[in-house]
Symmetry: C2
Subunit: 336 residues, 2 copies
Amino acid sequence: MKRFELIQAIFNNQLPREPRQVTATAFAPINVALCKYWGKRNNELNLPVTSSLSIAVPTKGTTTTLLWAPEQTQDNIIFNGKEMDPKSSFVQGITQFLDLFRPQHKWYLQATIKMNIALAAGFASSSCGFAALSLALNNLFTWNLEPYKLSILARLGSGSAARSLWTGFVEWHRGTRDDGMDSHASPLAEDWPALCIGLLSVCETEKPISSRKAMQHTVNTSHLYPYWPEKVAQDLVKIKYAIDKRDFSLLGKLAEQNALAMHATMLSSQPPICYFLSDTIAAIRRIWTLRKAGLELYFTQDAGPNLKLLFLKKDITAIQKFFPSVEIVSVFSGCI
Amino acid sequence: MKRFELIQAIFNNQLPREPRQVTATAFAPINVALCKYWGKRNNELNLPVTSSLSIAVPTKGTTTTLLWAPEQTQDNIIFNGKEMDPKSSFVQGITQFLDLFRPQHKWYLQATIKMNIALAAGFASSSCGFAALSLALNNLFTWNLEPYKLSILARLGSGSAARSLWTGFVEWHRGTRDDGMDSHASPLAEDWPALCIGLLSVCETEKPISSRKAMQHTVNTSHLYPYWPEKVAQDLVKIKYAIDKRDFSLLGKLAEQNALAMHATMLSSQPPICYFLSDTIAAIRRIWTLRKAGLELYFTQDAGPNLKLLFLKKDITAIQKFFPSVEIVSVFSGCI
């Protein structure tokens, strides 16, 4: 019921009615966390234990087109050209999110979702998905919600979606309120055109355990989880400092450390959670070898086997040579 | 200088003189830690931060034959049939250990060392090495030292060598004294003939970073290290309970968790230490898949990429089928 109260607060007790238009579209980018979000203090409201910080990849993400469908008796979800089974967990997640805005179930939508990254493979697909859906709803219903309120709405779909409403560096402030009204993201006024990200795909099959479950299991069973919040608190300050000073070595080092600390905490869950595949370890070892040889290359890894490489524009040719399959993505329109 | 005082205490101020015989031989087994030793509170004396518990593999280890060599001007070390370079770190480690007993350098030895496991690959080679050397010295000089004193001597060569003086389950008590006289191992009066160990070799090349250095680096830089001692304290109690109750599932689970917690702590060092190779991860994933399918199989991993499998005698055929390269070793003369 806390969700219902939060929605009431966002809409000043005036829940959305019929839209003024029949269709609306929105795009939201994936975001790569440099300081991770891992663990909730409230499961219903997706309130995080810690703040977190990410960088958006504006060319990768989700475009969602909503169509008002008064004649339908249920939502109709088309994902990358394919109509999805209404009983699938994918569709259930979306309809449950839409239910937040229609407590009496008086309307339905057709949602056409196009995503140019692999689903549920640690590429932040649910983040950009719920961010795009929130933006598209805002457009369809002409809510004109302030961005921070959209960030709160997106958060209800998937925690890290709170960060996918902006480009550039974005910080999700954990907040302290029980109602979740102060737990939303905001962009950092920082530009870093030389910074590049490479998506290194190791395996694009769906992960065996969702982030949501993995995170909860870690919080419940890892003897190391109690020490994660203080690590994040320290890393966040240092990462913002590195961004402010444009100190790439420091940023890369901190992002890599933060990711490894998260995976270390998961490895200590009971039973353990391990998102490393053997190819993940091979790639990590390659990165370390290259860095030892002088290439300024770092990685981060989310709840999946794939890696995100961090490097500077000047090293694009070298990165392409050593990782021919890497997809280099622009971050500040500075990369490719 | 603390080492010198410790030696004086062990020998009641009467350091060994000339031996009564010209040659002596001793064997010491490798030991597989079920509750790991990781981190020293005193580097000079190899005093551990925590207690630890291992099981010996009596068919694997080191046989060392010492020959009194009064005509020589330096020690002469023959390892697996090959005369070693006196300047190598291998020989230096042995001569420095021998120096503990000859402050005036008045005598030299020829040591013929035969080891039936890979060197410095996480198979506890230095443990059995220093344990066998301590035992052989005790025989050569007819010291007749009590076993706990030999455990202390072996510890000065390599911490976990303190545990390699017995077969069966062995606990190394951390001790509390500054002089190290209470930090030694002792055997547990427990027999478990159904318990088996499989050595699963992933890579037998020498590890890139020694246990000694890796441990120190973890203590100095891992934000998770402060939480390791309390984990060990809890695991040790539970592991002894599992042994006492012959509860194999519990023992396997605890040993695996303890190893993963150690590797998690290392992964959080700065820069990170990662003993996983891609083949290590592949083997770990295989173990987890088989366990999920009902095979009671667990692993532990030390400071190297290789794994030690833990299982019961009844599953030997299955283990051999799924891991054709595994070397199954007897633990309580009950395995093969």
